[in-house]
Amino acid sequence: MNIPLTHILFVSTALFFIGMYGLFTRRNLITMLMAIELILNSVNINFVAFNKYLYPDNLNGVFFTLFIIAIAAAEAAVAIAIIINLYRSHRSIDVEDVREMRG
């Protein structure tokens, strides 16, 4: 079974815009974080797909994907810590309630 590259790119693009949509519409910070993870994963799919289809001889894309997963884990930890602290101070994790930086 041979799946063309465009199919995979279509899936990753769909995933990217689903993440984008989630990021802009959800007010809950944890949901927004999840949306960001979707965006990251769409990028990962692109890396792996390009690696496999265009440069099958080397593994650069795969390694990048591994890096991104590791960084995403660290980022999630930081983001969760921020969200917990935000909850402690504001009793809410709704982004609409956190607008102190408004000019």
Binding site: F24, E96, V98, R99, E100, M101, R102, G103
Partner: protein, 636 residues
């Protein structure tokens, strides 16, 4: 002969007094400040007298002259191998003489102040300022180079400023302190430029080297200085004239004399020390220091002579009309310093310094006597005094002695020095001699006007004084200075201090003395007629003189002239446009910048919504826009 070991202590002890009383005076020494200050200056005085003894009598002359010795010298600032600013202590006849005068008068003023300033809240501040002044003045007279003298010159100016403004709660004192500082500072600018010119061409700051380089036959530095000109006048004359302007400012010479009468707002003992005996003669001392150089330039000597003689005459005339006793003395000081300067201008080096020496004693005595009178009667106005001889016998006698000394009545000190000066004038410049002779008659008149008005004239109207003439701390300096005013004239001054290689000793013929003494006696007689008993004559005379009297009484409108020039011309012509440019252009630019920034930020601050998601949207929009640009337009 090694002087260094103790000579450095002479200026350093008053400095120590300044530091100790200035830092710790408020609490532990609040009561004893006077005694501490006096003790330190007492030790300095003893050391100065010992130095003078060592220098004149033990070390003595070498090859017929008293040598100039550098007791101490070290490099203070090294700029380059050839250029450094040194500090040192120069011992030569003039500086040793000044050393004795400064420490002695300062000691007397310190003692007098114990009584005079009793009960003053800021006593320790007062004594610390006195210490600072004494230190600066001693540093000035002991300077080995022009730059050092300039540094101490400014220090003297600062301490004078502090002491004039000592009663800082009086607006008049504050204004006088500012005036004194600004006027002398203005003159010091000339001094500094003069120093720089001389140092630039001769390549040295040291007095000895400078004089040697300029006076040696065929001196290249001198040729250069005389060769270059500026506005048709050789640079050499410029340098010396500028130096002299600095000296004239400090010595309150016409037309920079306006600060000295106002400086009388300071405490009276301060006037005795600074504005009579020591600081104001700094200008004379400066010219005397560089005398061999000044001699090389005749026009500048002429300038010095005429400035001196005009100051002597005008100040004496003004003194006749003043009613504040301290102001009379201030104008008298200007007049006497005028004498010293024109004597210098007429090659009377010894006569000038001799007059400086005797003047220091009798003028500080006059000021301290005036201080005692003010202390007793609590006013400066001559009109409120009279008949004080009964209440203040010691002050009366000592004041009389000082008046005789300044009037030039033999055998008091002023007679001898004034004769020397008049003889110099007679030999060198007859017109100056006649003006000086007339001035000495006026001097006798205004001094005895002062004397009769204070001690005779009408009986004291209401004597509500309870503390008597004053404590011994005030009478003692008067007596010592009176003794000095009698005897110092007999010192064979020319034997010790002279300009040339050999002491120029000469005797004054008795017949020469007749005219000056007769002038002085005439002045005294006139004062006796007008002021011995209260009468209508002075008033009538003033009315008869009319406009002339008013002109003199208003001090020839010098203050008004200065005010006109500064307020009307300089303020309107220079200061106002400058202020306008500053206010409208410079400030306007800055304000406009600020306003523009505020305005723009007002407009765009709405973008800063604080909503994370809209930031993310902008960010994403930006990325999309960039992507579109790079994909479709920036393809090249």
């Amino acid at each position: 002969m090694n002087y260094a070991s103790y000579i450095a202590l002479i200026p350093l002890l008053p400095l120590a007094g300044f530091v100790i009383l200035g830092l710790f005076g408020k609490k532990p020494f609040a009561r004893s400040a006077g005694v501490i200050g006096t003790l330190l200056i007492f030790i300095s005085t003893l050391l100065a007298l010992y130095t003078a003894y060592q220098y004149f009598f033990v070390a003595g002359k070498q090859h017929g002259i008293y040598p100039a010795v550098k007791a101490l010298e070290f490099t203070w600032l090294q700029f380059s191998p050839g250029l450094s600013i040194d500090m040192g202590l120069l011992i030569d006849p003039a500086s040793v003489m000044m050393l004795v005068v400064v420490t002695f008068v300062s000691l007397m003023v310190h003692i007098f102040s114990i009584g005079y300033m009793k009960g003053e809240e800021r006593l320790s501040t007062y004594y610390s300022f006195l210490g600072l002044f004494t230190f600066s003045m001693l540093g000035l007279v002991l300077s080995t180079n022009i730059f050092q003298i300039y540094i101490f010159w400014e220090l003297v100016g600062v301490s004078s400023f502090l002491l004039i403004g000592f009663y800082y709660d009086r607006p008049a004192a504050v204004a006088a302190a500012k005036k004194a500082f600004i006027v002398t500072r203005f003159a010091d600018l000339g001094f500094l430029i003069g120093i720089l010119i001389l140092a630039f061409y001769s390549g040295t700051l040291d007095f000895g080297t400078l004089i040697q380089r300029l006076t040696e036959p065929g001196s290249s530095a001198l040729a250069q200085l005389k060769g270059y000109g500026f506005i048709g006048i050789p640079v050499f004359s410029w340098a010396l004239a500028l130096l002299f302007i600095g000296g004239a400012g400090k010595s309150a010479m016409f037309p920079l004399h306006i600060w000295l009468p106002d400086a009388m707002e300071g405490p009276t003992p301060v006037s005795a020390l600074i504005h009579a005996a020591t600081m104001v003669v700094a200008g004379v001392y400066l010219v005397a220091r560089l005398y061999p150089v000044f001699v090389l330039d005749v026009p500048v000597l002429q300038l010095i002579t005429w400035v001196g003689v005009i100051s002597a005459f005008l100040a004496a005339v003004i003194a006749c009309t003043q009613t504040d006793i301290k102001r009379v003395l201030a104008y008298s000081t200007i007049s006497q310093i005028g004498y010293m300067l024109f004597a210098l201008g007429l090659a009377g080096y010894t006569a000038s310094l001799f007059h400086l020496f005797t003047h220091a004693f009798f003028k500080s005595l006059l000021f301290l006597g005036a201080g005692a009178v003010i202390h007793y009667i609590h006013t400066n106005e001559m009109g409120n005094m009279g008949g004080l001889r009964k209440y203040m016998p010691v002050t009366h006698i000592t004041f009389l002695i000082a008046c005789m000394a300044i009037a030039g009545i033999p055998p008091f000190a002023g007679f001898f020095s004034k004769e020397e000066i008049l003889l110099t004038a007679w030999q060198n410049n007859q017109p100056v001699y006649y003006i000086a002779l007339l001035t000495s008659g006026i001097t006798a008149f205004y001094m005895f006007r002062l004397y009769f008005s204070i001690f005779w004239n009408k009986p004291l109207a209401h004597n509500h004084n309870h503390h008597g003439e004053g404590p011994w701390s005030m009478k003692f300096p008067l007596l010592v200075l009176a003794l000095a005013a009698v005897v110092v004239g007999f010192i064979p001054f020319a034997h010790y201090i002279s300009a040339g290689q050999q002491a120029a000793e000469h005797t004054i013929p008795i017949s020469f003395s007749i005219a000056p003494v007769a002038m002085a006696l005439a002045g005294i007689a006139l004062a006796y007629m007008l002021y011995y008993k209260q009468n209508e004559r002075p008033q009538k005379l003033a009315t008869a003189m009319g406009g002339l009297y008013r002109l003199v009484r208003q001090k020839f409108y010098f203050d008004e002239l200065y005010l006109f020039v500064t307020k009307k011309i300089i303020f309107n012509g220079i200061a106002k446009p400058a202020a306008w440019i500053d206010k409208h252009l410079v400030d306007g630019l800055m304000n406009g910048l600020g306003r523009a920034t505020t305005g723009i930020s007002e407009r765009i601050k709405a973008w800063q919504s604080g909503s994370v998601q809209s930031y993310a949207l902008y960010f994403f929009g930006g990325i999309v826009a960039l992507a579109a640009v790079f994909i479709y337009w920036w393809t090249g």
